[in-house]
């Protein structure tokens, strides 16, 4: 069977989740590779969540929030931007592909852009191939954690 990437979309409640809703209502085509998770604000997206998603089987993560200046909590998306930028630098320095994680601003009215992004990101992941999580040491780590 051909490889189908798994893409996790993390969408902020106020803008991007509405865009995704509207995309559904307008019957826009959104790839089934995308599974979405709603958060109140992109400012809540701890980088640990992003990497945990990869650890648990996602091949990429698309974080969408309100445009800068439109954040319901004023500066949540600014925090997200700073975190995302440093995370990308870190991934690149470790030789991991920063392209697997993407941050975009999608307002409630931009359902078409939302659908396009989902297609674009899925295509990108298809080219990158599956993200591999090494099993080499997890067995021992498990033993230790459980005593």
């Amino acid at each position: 069977m051909a490889y189908e990437p798994k893409l996790l979309g993390i969408l902020c409640h106020w803008c991007s989740y509405s865009a995704s809703d509207a995309a559904g209502a307008a019957r826009l085509s959104v790839p089934a590779n995308l599974r979405t998770m709603r958060v109140m604000c992109t400012g809540r997206v701890d980088p640990t969540l992003v990497i945990q998603a990869l650890q648990r089987g996602a091949d990429g993560v698309l974080i969408c929030g309100c445009h800068l200046g439109d954040c319901h909590y004023n500066s949540g998306n600014q925090r997200a931007l700073g975190r995302f930028h440093l995370l990308s630098r870190l991934l690149a320095d470790l030789g991991l592909e920063p392209d697997r994680v993407r941050l975009e601003w999608v307002s409630a009215g931009e359902s078409e852009r939302y659908a396009e992004l989902a297609h674009h990101m899925t295509k990108r992941l298809r080219n990158l191939g599956p993200f591999q999580w090494p099993t080499l040491d997890t067995a021992t780590t498990e033993v230790i954690r459980n005593g």
């Binding site: 990497i51 925090r79 470790l94 991991l96 999580w133 005593g147």
Partner: protein, 330 residues
């Protein structure tokens, strides 16, 4: 009960962990009353063969420090696991890979080339590289242990009973651990010993005033105000993401915490670097896209800053161990 048999071994280690055992100061006499040092290449003349000849579980306590970098390290880890009742990953290197573990940000080939051929201080016109085996003629063959492709923590190669974090572990904590072993008052295996369960910030005397960061500085660039949180003065202080236990000794003397006690929380599930990115994002002075990006660009060397003591043991560091994920062929 006879005297306890104790071993202290260094794998890919700097020797600092051995020194930290001496930092129990006058308690050393108590330790020597209660225990014999049966194997410790740093301090007593014992050979690997002596340990190889030992029965299973012959050693009561082994404080294993240093990372796993070579095949020799793996051999000793397996040997000391077999011969030790209680095997402790002692110090940041054995617990999580430590300073040697930063090597995992690069490939072994790139590392060898850098160290033996291209550093500004290298003078090696013939390009001589260390070899695992060299024929010296007259039937003499010299060998060196092979390097593993990646640096590992002790628990990546053998099951470990306890972890004592720190680079090196703090003397007071070392004594606490030894006392627990001598008295048999130990928690169930798997526990972290000799550390707290909160964060360095929790023990830090410097005050947080909710000041936003407008610029990042490195320790040599600023003489900080020694009443205010260093992070809020723009130094990347790992205190919020680091396990307590050292009494916040670095920030106490104006040095930001570098994270040597490992991630706070359930160490194996937490990733201190990722947590720290979360913290930093929340402290930036709000601004436009370019301002936010260039502020984050002021942080020099994200890997070395965020994973100075535990890249191999971290969640992200493990991802970087899968060759399929790496986009750098060189």
């Amino acid at each position: 009960m006879g005297k306890l048999k104790i071993a202290v071994y260094w794998a890919a280690s700097c020797g600092g962990c051995e020194i930290s055992v001496l930092e129990i100061h006058h308690h050393i006499t108590q330790l020597m009353d209660a225990a014999d040092l049966v194997f410790c290449p740093c301090l007593v003349d014992t050979k690997y063969a002596d340990v190889e000849a030992m029965d299973d579980d012959a050693i009561d306590l082994c404080l294993f420090n240093g990372a796993i970098r070579t095949e020799e390290n793996v051999h000793l880890a397996e040997l000391l696991r077999r011969t030790s009742k209680t095997l402790v990953a002692f110090g940041a290197c054995a617990s999580a890979g430590g300073i040697p573990g930063i090597a995992n940000a690069s490939t072994l080939e790139a590392l060898m080339e850098r160290v033996y051929l291209t550093t500004p201080s290298t003078d090696n016109p013939d390009g001589v590289m260390p070899q695992p085996s060299t024929d010296m003629g007259e039937g003499v063959r010299l060998t060196l242990p092979k390097l593993l492709p990646m640096v590992k923590a002790l628990h990546h190669v053998v099951p470990v009973d306890y972890t004592v974090p720190g680079c090196p572990p703090e003397g007071k904590q070392v004594w606490r651990v030894i006392e627990a072993v001598v008295s048999g008052d130990l928690p169930p295996p798997g526990a972290v010993l000799g550390a707290g369960d909160r964060t360095v910030c929790d023990e830090c005397r410097l005050e947080k005033r909710d000041t936003k960061i407008t610029a990042f500085v490195r320790p040599h660039e600023l003489i900080p105000d020694n009443t205010t949180c260093l992070l809020e003065q723009g130094m990347v202080c790992m205190g919020p993401a680091t396990r307590s236990g050292c009494d916040a000794r670095c920030p106490d003397v104006n040095m930001p915490c570098r994270g040597c006690y490992g991630p706070a929380g359930d160490g194996f599930n937490e990733d201190a670097g990722l947590k720290m990115i979360g913290v930093l994002g929340g402290l930036l002075e709000p601004g436009n896209e370019d301002a936010l990006r260039s502020l984050m660009d002021e942080i020099a060397d994200p890997v070395g800053t965020l994973y100075r003591f535990g890249l191999p043991g971290s969640m992200l560091g493990r991802a970087a161990q899968a060759p399929g994920n790496r986009d750098d062929a060189e």
